[in-house]
């Protein structure tokens, strides 16, 4: 199985209005730069394309080995009007953890 965010980090979702914030917290400090390079806002937007309109902003929290992804237009209009079952989007961290990442040491032969 290919490398997923799940293998390197843990995550929690929070909500404010129609915006979700999803943390990505490295288990190990050494993985932070890899995720900084590979877990781009574009890659995250692609994974949430069928759920959220976006945009996605990424904030870096090097001090906590973490990132904070803020995804707009993600919660069906917001907690109070959303027709979704998970109106807070609490389960969305699982989508983040499921994002597949490129192999850490790509072999030159693939090119």
């Amino acid at each position: 199985m290919s490398l997923r965010v799940y293998d390197l980090a843990h995550s929690r979702t929070g909500d404010k209005g129609n915006t979700a914030n999803i943390s990505v917290i490295c288990y190990q400090e050494k993985d932070w730069e890899f995720l900084q390079r590979e877990l781009t806002p574009e890659r995250v937007m692609e994974a949430f394309r069928h759920i959220a309109r976006g945009p996605v902003r990424r904030y870096e929290l090097r001090n906590l080995k973490a990132f904070n992804f803020v995804i707009d237009n993600a919660l069906g209009g917001g907690v109070t009007v959303s027709l979704a079952q998970d109106i807070h989007g609490k389960s969305l961290c699982s989508v983040m953890l499921g994002i597949e990442l490129p192999d850490r040491e790509p072999t030159a032969a693939l090119r």
Binding site: K16, T19, H50, I51, Y59, N68, G78, D86, S91, L92
Partner: protein
């Protein structure tokens, strides 16, 4: 100022529906000085305002009597002060209910300090030109439908209430971290100029405000992030010193875990720009915070930074926005998904034939696509529950959804089972705006005699 070396502030509730007994354990075994109950979600005040319009004595948090009945004997006995936003849309009514509970428990005449001024509905109604933060439209667009407008007050007015000496302080809408920061400011005489201390107190409040979310709740993941004895999960407290040093712990002997991982998840929770988390007390910057494991179930918090508070209050405006109707029915076994999809098409067609339209409509296949949308490549599950939901200004249209889904028993594809009763609920939507501080007049009153 108390002259105390350390103040211990416990977190007894993190939402109106939070569990009850962990707060009692904190009061009995946690050696705490303050017990904070945070019971107001974004939309709760709007809901309680609605309750108050039905019955002027109501409008405080419905869980207030039960929560206080449980902890009051221990809190009164040990001199633990209670700070809570369970006043919701009627803090004075809440104070009366609290005093009633104390009397009925034989604890005597307990004064309750009440924080007022968060209800800014009159001010807001007279300013239809105010801009809604979410969409930039003038408030005028929802003016006739407004049921509540509440400013997120800060720690300063809660401090005033604590200064009365009343053992219980009840508020309406205040910012969650302010409930925790206020006892620190009160005990140690911190002012808003002590920015590093205000920052530390706000960061600690943010860690504590969701109770179990920092002790292993909303966290556990089997085999990956195990949480011991989750059934008896304990609630957290903060040990705060006059210089602003903070150490987070939890009820001795309780279940759960408290470590750098659980604290990190909670520290980032519901934050957008981590250099600018705006509360009524400061603009918090968590990008230099250090979390350190001091001992088992003990985490030190250092390095929170802040800029001065802004000159506005954030206001949440609640307004009625029609109705949401929903219905559910299940299919299992061979072609379960095909039958569920067929049923959804039939229901939609029948709603159309009846002339109903919806502002928003949604079809969920629970088990496949209800949480994370349809990627089109998920494996088909053995059984599936069809859920249909729609929003409409017309109550009948909302009700018709559940009615037509239930009718799948007799009038739809074969083998439909377990449809629920049609569900309809009033939509209380919320929007935000900013109000200049000087327009908001806060006040502290005491119910009972000190």
């Amino acid at each position: 100022m108390s002259g105390r070396d350390t103040v211990r502030i416990g977190s007894g509730a993190g939402t109106s529906d939070d569990r009850m007994t962990p707060a009692l354990e904190l009061a009995e075994r946690g050696d705490i000085d303050y017990l904070v109950f945070e019971c107001l979600a974004e939309r709760t005040v709007a809901r309680e305002n609605f309750a108050r319009t039905q019955d002027p004595g109501k409008g405080y948090s419905p869980s207030l009597p039960e929560r206080l009945r449980m902890v009051l004997p221990a809190c009164i006995g040990k001199g633990i002060r209670i700070v809570s936003n369970m006043g919701a849309a009627n803090p004075v009514g809440g104070a009366r209910a609290a005093r009633r509970e104390a009397r009925e428990l034989g604890l005597g005449d307990i004064p309750v300090a009440v924080v007022l001024g968060d209800d800014v509905s009159t001010i807001v109604r007279s300013r239809p030109e105010l801009r809604i933060l979410e969409n930039g439209e003038p408030l005028e667009s929802i003016l006739p439908r407004i049921v509540s407008a509440n400013a997120y007050l800060g720690a300063d007015v809660i401090c005033e209430a604590l200064a009365t000496g009343a053992q219980i302080v009840l508020t309406g809408r205040v910012a969650d971290p302010s409930l925790f920061l206020a006892p620190m400011m009160h005990e140690f005489g911190w002012s808003y100029d002590d920015l590093p201390k205000i920052a530390q107190g706000t960061a600690a409040g943010h860690l504590l405000e969701c109770t179990a979310s920092v002790t292993g709740g909303c966290f556990g993941w089997p085999g990956k992030k195990d949480v011991p004895d989750m059934a008896r999960i304990g609630y957290p407290f903060a040990d705060v010193k006059p210089d602003g040093s903070i150490s987070i712990g939890k009820t001795p002997g309780s279940g759960g875990r408290l470590d750098v991982m659980t604290c990190t998840e909670q520290q980032i929770y519901e934050i957008h720009d981590p250099t600018a988390y705006i509360t009524p007390d400061c603009v918090l910057d968590i990008t230099h915070i250090r979390l350190t494991q001091e001992a088992k179930d003990r985490v030190r918090v250092e390095g929170a930074m802040a800029r001065p508070r802004t000159d506005t209050y954030k206001v949440t405006v609640g307004y009625t926005d029609g109705y949401i109707g929903e219905g559910e029915v299940s299919y299992g076994g061979i072609d379960a998904v095909a039958r569920a999809k067929w049923a959804a098409d039939i229901v939609k067609e029948r709603l159309r034939l009846r002339g109903f339209t919806y502002e928003d409509f949604r079809v969920d296949l629970i088990g496949i696509s209800s949480l994370h949308g349809d990627t089109g490549d998920r494996p088909e599950s053995y059984e599936v529950r069809l859920r249909m939901a729609g929003r409409s200004p017309n109550r009948l249209a909302a009700h018709a959804i559940g009615f037509e889904v239930r009718a799948m028993h007799l009038n739809g594809p074969g083998g439909a089972g377990g449809a629920c009763e049609p569900r309809v609920r009033d939509v209380l939507a919320v929007k935000s705006l900013l109000l200049p501080r000087q327009l908001v007049k806060t006040q502290v009153v005491v119910e009972g005699s000190l």
